[in-house]
Amino acid sequence: MNARRIVQSDHLAGWAFALPAIVLVVVFGIVPIAWSALMSFQRNNLLAPPEWIGLDNYRAFMNDPLFKTSMVHAGVYTVLFVPASIAGSLFVAIALNRRIHGIRLYRTAIFVPVVVSSIATAIMFLWLLDANFGLANWVLQKFGIGSPAHPVGFFSSSDGALYSIVLVTVWGWIGFNVIIYLAALQGVPTELLEAATIDGAGHWSLFRNVTLPLLGPATLFLVVFSSINAIQLFDEVFFLTKGGPGTSTYVPVYYLYTLAFQQGIAGYAAAIAYVLLAVILVLTVIQLGVGKRMVYYAS
């Protein structure tokens, strides 16, 4: 009874409280979603009145090699980034999940990159991986890889630039994943681990049969979340390679940006955005569907 009175109907108060936020969400969220769909059927250069062209933008994908290239790069990047960052962070989280001296310092070292912006991260790595004066090339040359005359050109080689971007973004995201995994690891009941140990389970068996299944929900979340992020890669490409060398690091969001804001082909760019949205939705549904069969939910 009491509970019901505070949650009672009050249309005026409800709308008055929520209105400012709702207006913002509608104007800068809902309206653009619909408008963007509309634009994808238009020829629109952001200046002249738009012209309705039906499905032409979507048909144009067929004859656009750069679009295909961008999508392939996004695919390659996602297939590399998602497993690398998740497997890496699982390993790090397990190493960090113990009571030893200095553990907080270790944790801080792993977490700090998460707060650093993508641009600041890119600047650090541009310098670290510099072909002429970079620390990384010096270390590599110690191991006999490359030479001062022929250094490893991380961002300047069309074979390696995309992989170098994978490296940069894994460094930036690993701490995020580790935090998720640590929270999940802390939730593993110690009784369960003790019971398994009493039953004679070794370290590996304990990890494989008890800990890992309990990390299923966290892993599924990270797979979905990292894939969505990976497909939307932009900042690092813009700052580090501008899609180059050649078109070796062109990705859809970078392509979309150049189309809309540098070439004034905004209708086509909006169509790309919607294709990306469709790809993300389909991929997420597949991942959640597969995950549902594989992941064990304790509660």
Partner: protein
């Protein structure tokens, strides 16, 4: 996805001062995990340490191969950045935008979150689903129309372009609504009987109980706003109105070969979020753990 896994307890454990709780007998026992963790931590810190070292080098030292450690600490790089570029202006712009956006999110999302959690009003559930929908949509889908809307309002190339669209967000509304729903309703009911207004209840009873979740929202919003790049990139063109992230881009273009200055500028661009991280680490981690598990 909103299975509602409670992460508060695990978060407390991540942050618990573990070493002091060790039984004394094991205190001096060396753990083999150090052999793995120490190199790992060094690799993760290397890019930042190298940036710090380069930021106090002379230009000649940066152009030396094999790389050398700085012979002395050249603070002048930092003052040079502040004097040769508009860095102070960019920093101020970022601060203004970030502080306004954080405060506004705290206020507007509290109001909306409370309404969605506690008040029954016409169309509430439909509107809430729409709010959630905007959270799922990738930014590039709304990028171009949002640009047109902001241009129509006349905010292009002003700080307003960075502030107004971000005054409130679906994430904050959702986060606070979920938290308010967990609070016991009896307290509010008692205040209601004593004649308190809804606004009074929100500000005098609900928000004082919501410190941690408000801090989480503040930290997450601060990071997003300070570090944002794509939106400032499309809306801001004049140097006077740039944020730090855009400023770095400009600075890098203008001082490509002065790596020591670029690194000094980079250090200063990271400083605020780093300070925030060390002071509010608890809320930062909670922010990630909650976005993570309740995303």
């Amino acid at each position: 996805m909103s299975a509602g896994i409670d992460v508060r307890e695990p978060v407390e454990q991540i942050l618990a001062p573990l070493p002091d709780e060790e039984p004394p007998r094991r205190r001096f026992l060396f753990s083999g995990w150090h052999l793995m963790l120490l190199p790992l931590a060094l690799v993760m810190l290397a890019p930042m340490v190298w940036m710090l070292l380069t930021s106090v080098q002379t230009l000649a030292e940066t152009e030396h191969f094999p790389p050398v450690l700085p012979s002395g600490v050249r603070w002048q790089n930092y003052t040079d950045v502040l004097q040769l570029s508009q860095f102070p202006r960019w920093f101020l712009n970022s601060m203004i935008v970030t502080v306004v956006v954080v405060l506004s999110n705290l206020l507007l999302c509290s109001l909306a979150g409370y309404a969605f959690a506690r008040i029954r009003f016409f169309g509430r559930d439909v509107v809430f689903i729409l709010v959630l929908a905007t959270m799922m949509i990738p930014f590039q889908v709304v990028l171009i129309p949002t640009f047109l809307i902001v241009r129509r309002i006349g905010l292009i190339d002003t700080l307003g372009a960075l502030i107004v669209p971000n005054l409130a967000g679906a994430f904050g509304i959702f986060l606070l609504r979920q938290f308010f729903k967990t609070l016991p309703v009896e307290l509010e009911e008692a205040a209601r009987i004593d004649g308190a207004s809804r606004l009074g209840i929100l500000f005098k009873i609900v928000l004082p109980l919501s410190g941690p979740v408000l801090a989480t929202l503040a930290v997450v919003t601060f990071l997003w706003t300070w570090n944002d790049f794509l939106w400032p990139l499309v809306t801001i063109s004049s140097s006077n109105n740039m944020t730090v992230q855009l400023g770095l881009l400009t600075f890098q273009g203008a001082h490509k070969t002065n790596t020591n200055l670029l690194m000094a500028a980079n250090v200063m661009s990271i400083a605020p979020v780093l300070v925030l991280f060390f002071v509010l680490q608890r809320y930062f981690i909670r922010g990630i753990a909650t976005t993570g598990l309740k995303g």
